[in-house]
């Protein structure tokens, strides 16, 4: 039996974000178990609610480790991820032989695979600089965008997004004016109307935001109410409820960059997975594709290493290429950052799968397919590695 811990918000304003991912992990774990497990061992996944609070996450991490978990999944919030990376580093140093690995599926602050990279940390999502590169490349081709407004959550991830946007825009489109750069508290704003009014009066032609979860949904709700028709270039427009908040207005106004969307051409197997997911968890949509990827890559690595020992698995993961539904995923050995295709999509009513239980769904925009090699960014990581078993 392999104990794994999923530490993310399972209640509160970000509860849906955590739960949507948790359900994906649960489903994938079930499927792996049904197919005979990993090296014959069954996966036992337990969810721990951390309320997006780093301190609480460490309490939960401690509990998870105490109960025997050696693999930790977390993604919602770079603030939490930073704390977990630090705690895992310390734990592994203090408890040789009892190491744990941290599989990060969504906390995308670039630093985690750059200056503060760690052997114990693997990231399965493209980081903020990579995603921003995709967005800014797209903006480069949109000549009518002259003024851009940046809005984000006030913590390392939001700050990283703002910094990336600023530097990449000045490089790629020096003519663009950044007319606003606003950071608001994480998960505390209930009514974004004042922010939207600020955006409207700034005369922006586009908004870039890394908001996620409730902060994304409420931002869209306020935008819809204020009747604003400014396009939103987002990381997480796919957050539960964002599309339905905008309704028809979302079409060609809401954009997101992600590692894959349900409406991409894919194998029947993938379609079957999407449909099974929706059936099991009708409140959510199949969104966290990378959760499935992470699980599958773990299985492959464990089988390659012939063991479920964390160090062995970690070494096996390094450099591994996994052939996936939306293209190959490579776990770069230098910094443990997954390299994969990225897609820019917008909302459309002409789709196979809708989201939020309405007719609208995501559709890739023209030229919105970014190959993994294009999305790739250099790293500054200098990793300390333990002895190979």
């Amino acid at each position: 039996e392999i104990k794994m811990a999923f530490i993310d918000p399972l209640s509160g304003p970000f509860g849906p974000s955590g739960e949507a991912a948790y359900t994906s992990y649960l489903l994938e774990a079930e499927r792996i178990n049904e197919a005979g497990g990993v090296n014959g061992e069954m996966i036992e996944l337990t969810g721990y609610d951390n309320k997006v609070n780093p301190k609480e996450s460490l309490v939960q991490l401690q509990k998870a480790i105490d109960s025997g978990a050696r693999y930790i999944f977390q993604g919602n919030g770079s603030s939490v991820a930073a704390a977990i990376i630090d705690a895992v580093n310390k734990h592994n140093k203090r408890n040789p032989g009892d190491e744990v690995l941290f599989f990060n599926y969504a906390a995308v602050t670039p630093a985690f695979t750059n200056e503060s990279c760690s052997f114990w940390h693997f990231r399965f999502d493209a980081h903020a600089d990579m995603k921003m590169a995709a967005i800014t490349d797209y903006i480069r081709s949109q000549d009518d965008i002259k003024k851009v407004y940046l809005i984000g959550q006030d913590y390392i991830f939001g700050q990283a997004v703002a910094a990336a946007a600023e530097s990449q825009l000045t490089e790629k489109r020096p003519d663009i004016e950044i007319v606003g750069n606003e950071l608001h508290p994480l998960g505390k704003v209930k009514d974004f109307t004042p922010y939207i009014q600020k955006i409207i009066s700034s005369g922006a032609d586009a908004v870039i935001t890394g908001n996620w979860g409730a902060d994304m949904q409420l931002l869209m709700k306020a935008a819809a109410e204020s009747g604003s028709d400014i396009p939103y270039m987002t990381f997480y427009g796919g957050s539960l409820g964002a599309v339905s908040a905008l309704g028809e207005g979302a079409m060609d106004l809401l954009y997101q960059v992600s590692e894959g969307i349900t409406n991409l051409e894919a194998s029947d197997e993938q379609y079957e997975l999407i449909e099974t997911y929706k059936e099991r968890f009708p409140e959510y949509d199949y969104y966290y594709h990378r959760a499935h990827v992470a699980m599958r890559m773990f299985k492959e690595a464990a089988e390659k290493a012939g063991s479920v020992d964390p160090i062995a698995v970690a070494y096996a993961l390094e450099g591994m290429v996994h052939q996936d539904a939306y293209g190959p995923v490579t776990m770069r050995a230098e910094d443990h950052q997954a390299q994969q295709n990225l897609y820019i999509s917008t909302v459309s009513d002409d789709v196979k799968y809708g989201v939020d239980n309405i007719e609208l769904g995501w559709k890739v925009v023209e030229g919105g397919e970014i190959d993994a090699s294009v999305a790739e960014q250099p790293t500054t990581c200098e990793m300390e590695r333990p002895e190979k078993p």
Binding site: K55, D86, Y155, I156
Partner: protein, 422 residues
């Protein structure tokens, strides 16, 4: 009329009684602490014990205010948090080795928490303690919210969302403890818990400790025996804040992280509940409360999602029916057993207990069944191999019958008591 042979020494408790009431509990406590490592506790157990240790000190510090001083605070976590934050900074200074900090042992970090918590409380108390009662409570609420929201503005002090983290394994070692593994932390926790308990118990026996009780009961009269109630409150508040800071320091070492949430209303409310559930009129009450609630919050949360509901329920029931808390129930039971009609008492208590347990049983089934039903993932409540589906009649019988039966028993007992001669 007074007996001529009596003198003041006779009025004080006898040495035997003193030993029984004061020294013995502490000795037993120390013995337990020494015995625990011999049982080779699991990691889970140690994690739990450490958390209890922190909460015991924090709850006792809080009860200095609420129980002894009569000051209801909704923001005591501010001092816990500020003490803890300061310790996190010191921990990082120790790591950098800057100035004298390089030679400061991590083991003594709680002293820094004590100082920082005390200072913060002294400053904030200098205006909030001018008022008592509800006004004081409201100020504490306001201050807590203010400090909490303000914390997000000063990232270099509070670290924003992410908080401040550090590594406790730096600085000189004392008592041969590297402070890395949990076993080392156990001794650290044991040491500071004993220090905290003994110091706070000693405080209740000082003139100021007594005056704080006097001020709680009757601030007006205190003025007319020559003391300034504001000053008394302020001093008690400061000392209580300092001990809260001590607990914060213990927490800093244990978790090696502090986030602004530590300053918020949630931990403040939790400490209030710990102290009150344990029993604010007894010194040992908050200790019991801290142990029980820490256990509940970390263990019960594994068994049931609804543990907060049980917690809230327990709190409300205690406010309504047992305002002296668990300690009151325990000591009341003890006194009853030693009282004249102990047989009668025992019988009554047992029946009462049976009534309560019956109601609890029904309630638990109700809550557990509904929580699974509401999650909608098709889970079913299956304790001990039984099966309680929300759609089976049996389930509802198991819910309703014990509740009604329990209520009837308690009602009957209540009636009987009224009819007993006063």
């Amino acid at each position: 009329m007074s007996d001529a042979t009596q003198n003041h020494a006779d009025l004080a408790p006898s040495t035997g009684a003193k030993f029984r009431q004061r020294t013995l509990p502490i000795l037993i406590f120390v013995a337990i602490i020494l015995a625990i490592p011999m049982t080779d506790p699991s990691r889970t157990m140690l994690t739990l014990i450490h958390q209890m240790a922190i909460n015991i000190v924090f709850a006792l510090a809080y009860n200095m205010l609420l129980g002894k001083g009569g000051m209801l605070s909704f923001g005591h976590a501010v001092y816990f948090g500020l003490g803890g934050y300061f310790c996190m900074h010191v921990m990082n200074w120790i790591e950098e080795g800057s100035g004298i900090w390089g030679s400061y042992p991590t083991f003594f970090l709680p002293v820094m928490g004590f100082v920082a918590g005390g200072l913060a409380a002294a400053v904030i108390g200098s205006f909030s303690c001018r008022r008592a009662g509800t006004t004081f409570a409201m100020i504490s609420l306001g201050v807590a919210e203010l400090v909490f929201s303000g914390a997000f503005m000063f990232d270099s002090l509070f670290g924003g969302e992410q908080g401040i983290n550090g590594d406790r394994m730096n600085g000189p070692e004392v008592f041969g403890l590297s402070m890395g593994p949990m076993q080392d932390i156990y001794w650290f926790m044991a040491f500071w818990t004993v220090v905290g308990i003994v110091a706070m118990y000693a405080f209740t026996r000082t003139p100021l400790g007594r005056l704080s009780e006097a001020t709680r009961d009757n601030p007006q009269r205190v003025q007319f025996i020559g003391y300034n109630p504001t000053r008394v409150r302020w001093l008690v508040f400061t000392i209580s804040g300092a001990f809260a800071g001590l607990a914060g320091g213990m927490s800093a070492v244990n978790y090696e992280i502090f986030t602004p949430e530590a300053l918020s209303l949630i931990p403040s409310g939790f400490v209030l509940i710990m102290a009150y559930v344990g029993g604010i009129t007894y010194f040992a009450g908050p200790i019991m409360g801290a142990i029980l609630l820490t256990y509940m919050s970390s263990m019960m949360s594994d068994f049931t999602e609804a543990w907060l509901l049980y917690l809230g329920l327990m709190f409300v029931i205690i406010v309504m029916y047992a305002p002296r808390g668990i300690a009151g129930i325990v000591f009341g039971f003890w006194d009853g057993l030693r009282g004249a009609q102990s047989g009668e008492f025992l019988k009554r208590t047992l029946i009462q207990l049976a009534g309560c347990l019956l109601m609890l049983l029904g309630l638990i089934v109700l809550v557990e069944v509904s929580i699974r039903w509401s999650n909608g993932w098709g889970e079913v409540f299956e304790p001990y191999g039984m099966h309680f589906g929300h759609d089976s009649i049996l389930t509802w019988i198991v819910i309703v019958v014990p509740i009604v039966a329990g209520a009837a028993i308690l009602r009957y007992l209540g009636r009987e008591k009224e009819e007993m001669p006063a």
